[in-house]
C-alpha cells in the first residue's frame, strides 16, 4: 500500500461502525487482509508501508509482530459484533507486504489460526501469502500448507538480471523455478508477479521474462506496469537523469505483448492486470476488492471495507502497536460512502473485470456513452449486446478513460 494515506474523516477510537456497515452484511462475503510491514531490503521503486528489520522495536518488531496482529484480529471480531454484524466465515485470506515470508512460517500460521478461531473459514476458502523467492524453503512452505494456506504468490518481477538490479530485487532468477517446484510439492497453488516497464527494460527483455515465467506453468500471473511514486529512490534517479523515465507507449506495447503471450499459454484475463489458467484459479481475494465485498485489513496502514465504510490504519508499526496495546482502534481515518459514491466506485472497479459492468446499472449518460465506446474499439460489442460492458484489449489499456466516460457527469 502507498505510504501516503488518504484524507478522510477521523475514525472513532472504539472503531465502532455506523449502521450502514451492518445493513445486509449477513449476505456479503467476508475476507481478511494481513499486512506484514517488513522487508529484508527496501526496493527502489517501492513506496509501500514497509520497514527493514532493524528499523523497529517494541510491539512493532518482527518478533512481536504476530502477537500484535492477533490483537487486532481480536479487536476486529469485537468491533464487528458490537456493530451488529454477525460473524461470517472467512472466504479469502491474503497475507501481503512487505515480505510476509520474512516472518517465520509459524508466525503466519498463528495469525491465520487466530482468525479462523474467531470467524471460522469456508470450505474451499482461498488463503494466499505473498513470498519473495529468497525467503522460502521446502520446510517453510510445508508449514504454511499445514497451517491452512492454499496459495503462494511469488514476487518474480523479471527474469532479466539488469532489470532486477534497477528494481533492487536481490533474488537470482534461477531460484524462481526451484521455489515454484517446492510450492507445488507442498500442495500450494502458484502465482507469479511480474513488473513491466522498468527503466532500461527492452521489449525483448520483457518477452524473455514472460516466456520464462510461463515456462514454469503458473496457475496465475499478475503483470503490473511499474508506477514511479513520488518520494521513492527510483523517482529521484529518474529526476536526476540516472535512469530513463517511464513511457506510456512502451507500457502499452508491453501490456499487449503480455496479453498475447499469456493468452497463448492458456491463461485468460479476469482483471486488467491479472490472468488465471481457469476461472477457479482467479485470485478470489483480489476479486473481492473489485467487487466491493467486505474485508478487514490487519496491520499498519492496512485498508478495510465493510458495507460502504472504508478505513485505514495508522501507518507506522510503532504507533499501530501502541494503539492496540491501549485497546484503541488503530484506524487513522475513514470514509462513509453515500449511495452515489458507492455507485461510482462500483462502476470504477467492476469495469476492470472480465465480467464487466451491467449496462443497465449505468446512469443515463453512461448508457448513452456505450455506442461511442464500441465505435472507438474500447468495449466489446457482443458483451454489450448481452447487457455487460466488457473492455477490449485496447479498452483495458484505457480503462480509466473509459470509466470517466461512463460515469455520470
Amino acid at each position: 500500500m502507498p505510504s501516503v494515506l488518504p484524507l478522510g474523516d477521523p475514525a472513532p477510537s472504539d472503531g465502532l461502525l455506523p449502521q450502514q456497515a451492518a445493513d445486509g452484511s449477513a449476505d456479503r462475503a467476508f475476507g481478511l487482509y494481513v499486512h506484514i510491514p517488513f522487508c529484508a531490503v527496501r526496493c527502489g521503486y517501492c513506496d509501500f508501508n514497509t520497514y527493514t528489520a532493524t528499523e523497529l522495536g517494541g510491539g512493532a518488531s518482527q518478533d512481536a509482530y504476530a502477537t500484535t496482529a492477533i490483537s487486532e484480529v481480536d479487536f476486529a471480531a469485537t468491533v464487528l459484533r458490537d456493530s451488529g454484524i454477525p460473524d461470517r466465515p472467512l472466504g479469502t485470506v491474503f497475507f501481503g507486504g512487505g515480505t510476509p515470508t520474512l516472518l517465520p512460517a509459524e508466525d503466519l500460521g498463528r495469525i491465520l489460526k487466530a482468525a479462523i478461531n474467531k470467524w471460522g473459514i469456508e470450505a474451499g476458502a482461498e488463503v494466499t501469502t505473498e513470498a519473495n523467492p529468497d525467503s522460502v524453503t521446502p520446510e517453510s512452505l510445508a508449514v504454511l500448507k499445514d497451517a491452512g494456506f492454499t496459495r503462494v504468490s511469488f514476487g518474480m518481477q523479471s527474469a532479466v538480471p539488469h532489470v532486477l538490479k534497477v528494481l533492487d530485487r536481490t533474488h537470482t532468477p534461477s531460484r524462481v523455478p526451484q521455489v515454484v517446484q517446492w510450492a507445488r510439492e507442498a500442495g500450494l497453488a502458484v502465482s507469479l508477479d511480474l513488473i513491466y516497464g522498468t527503466p532500461g527494460e527492452s521489449l525483448e527483455d520483457w518477452r524473455y521474462s514472460l516466456e520464462t515465467a510461463l515456462s514454469y506453468q503458473p496457475d496465475h500471473i499478475s503483470a503490473y506496469a511499474l508506477i514511479v511514486e513520488d518520494g521513492t529512490k527510483l523517482a529521484a534517479q529518474i529526476r536526476r537523469g540516472e535512469v530513463p523515465g517511464i513511457d506510456d507507449d512502451d507500457h502499452a506495447d508491453k501490456y499487449e505483448l503480455a496479453d498475447q503471450l499469456i493468452g497463448e499459454a492458456g491463461l485468460s484475463w479476469y482483471e486488467v492486470s491479472n490472468w488465471s489458467r481457469t476461472p477457479e484459479q482467479a485470485c478470489r481475494h483480489n476479486l473481492a476488492y473489485w467487487r466491493g465485498d467486505d474485508w478487514w485489513g490487519i496491520g499498519p496502514g492496512a485498508h478495510s471495507h465493510v458495507g460502504g465504510v472504508r478505513w485505514w490504519n495508522v501507518k507506522h508499526p510503532t504507533a499501530y502497536a501502541g494503539r492496540l496495546a491501549q485497546g484503541l482502534s488503530p484506524a487513522a481515518g475513514r470514509e462513509t460512502l453515500d449511495d452515489g459514491t458507492r455507485d461510482m466506485e462500483r462502476i470504477m472497479l467492476e469495469a476492470r473485470l472480465a465480467s464487466g459492468v451491467g449496462v443497465s446499472s449505468l446512469g443515463e449518460s453512461g448508457r448513452k456513452a456505450v455506442a461511442g465506446l464500441i465505435a472507438d474499439g474500447l468495449v466489446d460489442p457482443a458483451s454489450a449486446f448481452r447487457g455487460r460492458l466488457v473492455l477490449t484489449l485496447k479498452g483495458r489499456l484505457l480503462a480509466d478513460a473509459v470509466v470517466r466516460r461512463i460515469l455520470p457527469d
Binding site: 488518504p6 466506485e345 483495458r396
Partner: protein
C-alpha cells in the same frame, strides 16, 4: 536660488502675467515622475513627510510600471525676484498609445520641459512628442536628467538636444530628480523663459478639456485650461461638441489635493465637477463654455479617440462573464477610448471584442481587469480593423477573423501607420530587415547625432501589433525605440487562415494574414497546438487551411495507456479520489468537437512568448 514662495497667488484672482503653464515631455523611464515629485516638494505643495514615490501617478499599475496613463495638473507657487508666480504642471501620458491625450495636454501649455535621460538620449516617442510640442508653438526647455548616474553622458546628449531644437548645448539644463540637483534652477528658468498665457478676460468663457477622470465618490473630474473668460461655481456649462449641459457643482485647482476656488480665469488650469458619471460626457479635447453666454466657436483640435487594435477578452471561467461585463462598464467610465461589444466564440464561450488605442492600452486594460476585478482572462491575438469589399460591392468591416466573409472578395484594405524608430546606427541593418519582413516601406532616415539615427517606415498596423516592438527591442539590444501614428490604409493581398482540430474549425485560432505569411502562421500554430494539446483516445489531425485548401498539417497520436495498474492492498479511496480529480479536470477542458482542449493550451497558443523566444535566439 529662489526661496519657496511666501504667498501663493489666489485662484480666480490671478493675473495671467504671473501664470506659467508647462508640461514635461519624457520617455517612460527617463524620470519624469521623480522630477515632478521633487518640484512638488521644493515648491512646498507637498510636505516631505507626505511624499510617496511618484505622487501624481495614482493607479497602482502606474506606480508599479513607472508610467503615467492618466495625466493630471498641479498648481505650484514659486517666487522669483520678489514676485510670486503660479506654475501649472500638466502631467502628460508617456506612451505612444495615448498620443491624442498628449496633444491635448500640450495644447493646454505655453511651454514644455523636454526631459531626457543623460545616460540614454532621446527616444522615439519623446521625439514625436517634441515635434508635437513644436507644432503647437510651445517654448521648449531642454533638460538632461539623472545627471548623477555614472553612465551619464551629458555632453553627448546635450549636443543631440541642441541640434534637435536649436541653441547652444551649454543652455541644456542638467538636473537629478533623485538628488534634487538643478531642480530649483529649472523652476526659475520656467518662470523666466516661458511666455505667460494670453486670452480675452471679457470674452465668453472657453476652456479646453485635457483630461477627464472618473472618481468613485465624486463622479467625473474634468481637467481644463481656461483660454478666454471665466468659469464660476454653480453656473450652467455646455460641452460644445455634444451640446450637453451640466451644472458646475465644484471648480478648483489641484495643489495637489483638490482645492475648491471661486472660479478659474484666463490662463488658469484646474478641475470641474458636474456630477456626471461617464467620462464620455466630458471628452478630452472638447471645449467648455458658459450656457448663458456661450462662445461662438469651439477651440481647435478636437477629435474622437478611435480604437486601432481589437482583441477578444474571455473569462477563463464562463461563470465570470457577468463580472467581466460589469468590470468593462466601470472601466469605460474612466476610459473614453475603450469600446467593446459582446461576442461569442465556439471555442472560448461568451466574451467581448474590445477595441484599444494600441497594445499598451490593451495590456493595461487587461491587467486592470485581472487585478482590480479578480478575473482570469484569455485574450485572443490582437487584430486590426479590415475593410473587406465583396464582389457584389458590399463592404464589411472586420475586427474579428471569424467575421471574415466567405463570399467572393474583391478587395481587402488594411490600416497603415507611419512609424519612427530611433536607434544607434549599428542597428540600422537589423531594423531595415525587420521592417521589410513586416511589409514596411522606408520613408527616410536622418542622423540625430553621429551615431544615432531616426528611421521612418510606413507599415501595416497589423504587422506591428503582435510582437514587433519586442523583436525591435531584442534586435537593438534594448536601445531601439518606436513611435507610430495612423497613416491611412492600403489594399493588400490578405487571407484568412483557419485552424481545424479533427476537422472542426477553432475560431479562436483563426487569423487574417498576408498571403505570403499564411503558411508560416499555419505551421507555427499547428506545431504549437500539437505540443499543447494532450493526447486523446483517438488520433487528432490539426490542420491549417485557407478556405478549403490545407496548407499545414500535424497530428496528435492517440493515447494508448490510461489505466492504473493496481490498487494497493485495497486502497480504493485513493483511486476514487484520483478519478474525481480527473473528472474535475475534464470539466475545465473546452470541447472542440470530440477533442478535449485544456484552457492552458488556449492561453499558451494565444500568447506571444514563442515569438519572443525566437527573436532572442
Amino acid at each position: 536660488m529662489s526661496p519657496m514662495a511666501r504667498t501663493a497667488p489666489v485662484p480666480a484672482a490671478t493675473d495671467p502675467a504671473i501664470i506659467r503653464n508647462f508640461c514635461i515631455i519624457a520617455h517612460i523611464d527617463h524620470g519624469k515622475s521623480t522630477l515632478a515629485d521633487r518640484m512638488l516638494q521644493y515648491t512646498g505643495v507637498v510636505q516631505s513627510r507626505d511624499m510617496k514615490a511618484q505622487y501624481l501617478d495614482r493607479m497602482d499599475i502606474e506606480r508599479e510600471r513607472g508610467i503615467t496613463i492618466k495625466s493630471q495638473a498641479v498648481r505650484m507657487p514659486w517666487e522669483l525676484d520678489g514676485t510670486s508666480y503660479a506654475l501649472n504642471m500638466i502631467d502628460t501620458p508617456g506612451h505612444v498609445d495615448f498620443t491624442y491625450e498628449v496633444s491635448r495636454s500640450l495644447a493646454a501649455c505655453e511651454g514644455a520641459v523636454l526631459l531626457v535621460d543623460a545616460a540614454q538620449g532621446i527616444e522615439a516617442q519623446t521625439l514625436a512628442n517634441l515635434y508635437l510640442a513644436m507644432e503647437n508653438n510651445l517654448t521648449i526647455i531642454p533638460v538632461l536628467n539623472k545627471i548623477d548616474l555614472p553612465a551619464a553622458q551629458p555632453e553627448k546628449y546635450a549636443a543631440e538636444l541642441a541640434s534637435l531644437i536649436g541653441g547652444d548645448p551649454d543652455d541644456v539644463l542638467r538636473v537629478s530628480g533623485k538628488t534634487g540637483m538643478g531642480v530649483e534652477a529649472l523652476l526659475d528658468k520656467i518662470v523666466r523663459d516661458l511666455p505667460a498665457p494670453e486670452g480675452d478676460a471679457n470674452a465668453p468663457a472657453r476652456a479646453m478639456i485635457f483630461d477627464s477622470v472618473y472618481d468613485t465618490y465624486r463622479g467625473v473630474v474634468t481637467y481644463v485650461r481656461v483660454v478666454d473668460g471665466m468659469l464660476h461655481p454653480r453656473e450652467r456649462i455646455q460641452m460644445m461638441s455634444t451640446r450637453a449641459t451640466h451644472e458646475l457643482l465644484e471648480i478648483g485647482v489641484s495643489s495637489p489635493e483638490p482645492t475648491p476656488s471661486k472660479g478659474l480665469g484666463v490662463g488658469e488650469v484646474g478641475y470641474l465637477i458636474t456630477g456626471v458619471k461617464d467620462v464620455r460626457l466630458s471628452k478630452v479635447g472638447d471645449t467648455v463654455t458658459n450656457l448663458a453666454k456661450p462662445a461662438a466657436d469651439s477651440l481647435p483640435g478636437y477629435a474622437d479617440a478611435k480604437p486601432m487594435v481589437f482583441s477578444g477578452l474571455y473569462p477563463l471561467d464562463g461563470t465570470d462573464y457577468p463580472v467581466l461585463r460589469d468590470a468593462l462598464e466601470k472601466l469605460m467610465l474612466n476610459d473614453a477610448a475603450l469600446v467593446y461589444e459582446p461576442e461569442t466564440s465556439a471555442a472560448l464561450g461568451f466574451g467581448f471584442r474590445v477595441g484599444f488605442l494600441g497594445l499598451l492600452h490593451l495590456e493595461i486594460t487587461r491587467e486592470r481587469l485581472e487585478r482590480e476585478y479578480n478575473l482570469d482572462l484569455i485574450s485572443t491575438a490582437p487584430n486590426v480593423e479590415y475593410e473587406v469589399t465583396l464582389e457584389d460591392k458590399k463592404v464589411v468591416h472586420v475586427t474579428n477573423p471569424s467575421e471574415y466573409p466567405s463570399g467572393k472578395i474583391a478587395e481587402v484594405r488594411e490600416p497603415m501607420v507611419s512609424a519612427t524608430i530611433l536607434a544607434p546606427n549599428e542597428f540600422v541593418g537589423a531594423i531595415m530587415e525587420l521592417c521589410q519582413s513586416r511589409r514596411g516601406v522606408m520613408g527616410g532616415m536622418d542622423y540625430l547625432s553621429e551615431d544615432r539615427v531616426e528611421i521612418r517606415y510606413r507599415l501595416p498596423l497589423a504587422e506591428i501589433v503582435f510582437d514587433f516592438f519586442d523583436i525591435l527591442k531584442s534586435k537593438t539590444r534594448g536601445y531601439g525605440s518606436l513611435d507610430w501614428k495612423a497613416d491611412g490604409e492600403q489594399v493588400a493581398d490578405l487571407v484568412k487562415v483557419d485552424i481545424m482540430l479533427q476537422g472542426e474549425q477553432v475560431d479562436a485560432f483563426s487569423a487574417i494574414t498576408h498571403r505570403d505569411k499564411a503558411y508560416a502562421y499555419g505551421v507555427m500554430m499547428t506545431t504549437k497546438l500539437r505540443e499543447l494539446i494532450p493526447r486523446q483516445q483517438f488520433e487528432v489531425p490539426i490542420q491549417a487551411a485557407i478556405g478549403s485548401r490545407i496548407i499545414a498539417r500535424e497530428s496528435i497520436r492517440a493515447i494508448r495507456k490510461d489505466v492504473l495498474a493496481k490498487c494497493y492492498g485495497g486502497d480504493i479511496s485513493r483511486k476514487r479520489k484520483l478519478l474525481e480529480k480527473q473528472k474535475e479536470g475534464k470539466k475545465r477542458m473546452k470541447m472542440v468537437g470530440r477533442v478535449e482542449v485544456p484552457q492552458e493550451a488556449f492561453i499558451a497558443a494565444l500568447t506571444t512568448d514563442e515569438s519572443k523566444d525566437k527573436a532572442r535566439k
